[in-house]
């Protein structure tokens, strides 16, 4: 655009003339960057609340929304904090290789704990692939190592589940005395994890399953009921846990004396009512 004679005489406008605009622009840019990370953190926190309060399906939706928000933030302004959050969300969504990359990037941008988290996620990924390729024992050793030394709780939790399932798989091939030994070992592993995180519904679920293997149906039912109350990581685990509850009820009905069963039934029935089941063996999700 051509300048007028007056403008040519005056020369370029002094910087101070643009100050208000520049300040507004900086504030806008800063504000939008900060709010994007903040938004992602808020959504992540909401998802965690839903996760804990047993609304796992909605939580999964919010985790995905967080991931979209954090990816937007990273495109604008990559930072250690943003990659750390991205990794945490990816762990929640079981995107292990992606989480490992995010933690590595967070570590390279200066976050100290992200480095060890990346290593744990990487080891977990390796254990999973070994298991898929049929190297069960090697994968079990890695899961065991992660349980012993791991600091990143989602990886520790997933490793406990994987190790226990692997140990249960071997039960069919061993004698009954070895069976008891393996089951006791698995129970110890889960109890140790529970001592560190007593409010973790998933550990109570695992314990309920293991006690079922030992035919301790009252205890198995109690653990499964606690798991249901504390919340479980996914609907499929919730349904499996409900099936365990029903199985225990049916086994106890057959094996208990009438007096004992009546006492048990009183408590069982109050849970069934609380959970809104149609009857003793029909949870809300079950086809009738």
């Amino acid at each position: 655009m051509a300048l007028t004679e007056k403008e040519k005489r005056q020369g370029p406008a002094p910087v101070t003339f643009y100050w208000p605009g520049i300040v507004l622009l900086i504030l806008f840019l800063f504000g939008s960057c900060a709010s994007s990370l903040q938004e992602a953190k808020t959504t992540f926190a909401q998802a965690q609340i839903l996760d804990r309060s047993f609304k796992t399906e909605q939580a999964a939706g919010l985790y995905k929304k967080t991931l979209e928000e954090i990816n937007r933030e990273i495109r604008k302004k990559p930072s250690a904090q943003a990659y750390l959050l991205k990794g945490q969300v990816e762990v929640k969504l079981e995107k292990w290789p992606e989480a490992e990359d995010s933690f590595r990037l967070a570590a390279s941008l200066g976050d100290e704990k992200a480095g060890s988290w990346a290593k744990e996620v990487s080891l977990y990924g390796l254990a999973l692939s070994l298991e898929q390729r049929g190297f069960g024992q090697s994968s079990a050793r890695l899961y065991d190592l992660l349980i012993e030394k791991g600091e990143f709780s989602p990886v520790v939790m997933a490793s406990v589940g994987k190790l226990v399932d692997y140990q249960l798989k071997t039960l069919d091939e061993v004698s009954s005395s070895q069976k008891d030994k393996i089951l006791s070992g698995s129970i110890k592993t889960v109890e140790k994890a529970l001592a560190d995180d007593p409010a973790c519904g998933y550990y109570h679920y695992l314990l309920g399953q293991l006690l079922g293997h030992q035919k301790k149906y009252v205890e198995s039912f109690e653990e499964a009921a606690i798991a249901r109350e504390l919340g479980l990581p996914s609907e499929k685990i919730l349904r499996d846990n409900d099936n365990q509850i029903i199985f225990c009820y049916q086994q106890l009905k057959q094996s208990m004396s009438q007096d004992d069963f009546e006492r048990f039934y009183k408590g069982y029935n109050s849970w069934v009512k609380k959970w809104g089941w149609a009857d003793e063996i029909t949870p809300d999700w079950k086809r009738r």
């Binding site: 399906e57 939706g61 399932d165 499929k236 349904r239 049916q250």
Partner: protein, 190 residues
């Protein structure tokens, strides 16, 4: 729910979604059925649920169950008890556990997608064929869905369909009742 109205809705839905799937698709009806059930539950975004299909189908539940649990699974369901009478009478746990691996997600956990994918076998009580076909049919269905969801219009249409389904008015019915009605009508569509 007025049956005529629902049938015409389902026929329209089939017409719209069949653009995204090959002829003789194995995934079209399971996807329709499970999306409508998920929409009814309003548990999550339909897109999230469809994207989760692969995760859901590899459950992180403890897969290795106690012998008594497996026996109870077969004995407490009349259809399974009849189909696996021989294994049950011989207490053939190896055979029962092999079948349990496929049957538990469909019959025990009642996943709506799998329920529809094997609706014919479930209706006929042909549980053995369900086991034989499980892996091949499932992987075919998942690859069809993967191809369909790559097309941008897919999500938009699926979302619209689920929204219209909810507008048909289901508030007075339970999920089990809706699933029953849908199952009956889906069999007439096939």
């Amino acid at each position: 729910m007025e049956e005529k109205k629902l049938v015409s809705f389902l026929q329209q839905t089939k017409k719209i979604l069949s653009d995204f799937f090959p002829l003789n698709s194995v995934a079209l009806f399971p996807l329709m059925y499970s999306s409508l059930v998920w929409a009814l539950n309003r548990k999550a975004e339909i897109k999230t649920k469809v994207l989760e299909l692969e995760v859901w189908l590899d459950p992180d539940i403890l897969k290795n169950k106690a012998d008594e649990f497996v026996l109870n699974f077969f004995e407490s369901r009349p259809g399974l008890r009849e189909a696996y009478a021989e294994e049950l009478s011989k207490k053939d746990l190896k055979g029962l556990k092999a079948a349990f691996k496929f049957l538990y997600p469909v019959v025990g956990l009642e996943d709506p997608f799998l329920e529809n994918l094997f609706s014919l076998e479930l209706r006929e009580g042909n549980y053995r064929r369900l086991g034989d076909d499980f892996e091949s049919r499932l992987s075919r269905a998942l690859s069809e869905i993967q191809a369909a969801r790559a097309r941008p219009e897919f999500w938009k249409r699926l979302k619209t369909i689920c929204g219209e389904f909810l507008n048909l008015g289901w508030s007075l019915m339970t999920e089990a009742e809706v699933r029953k009605q849908l199952r009956e009508l889906f069999s007439s569509l096939e």
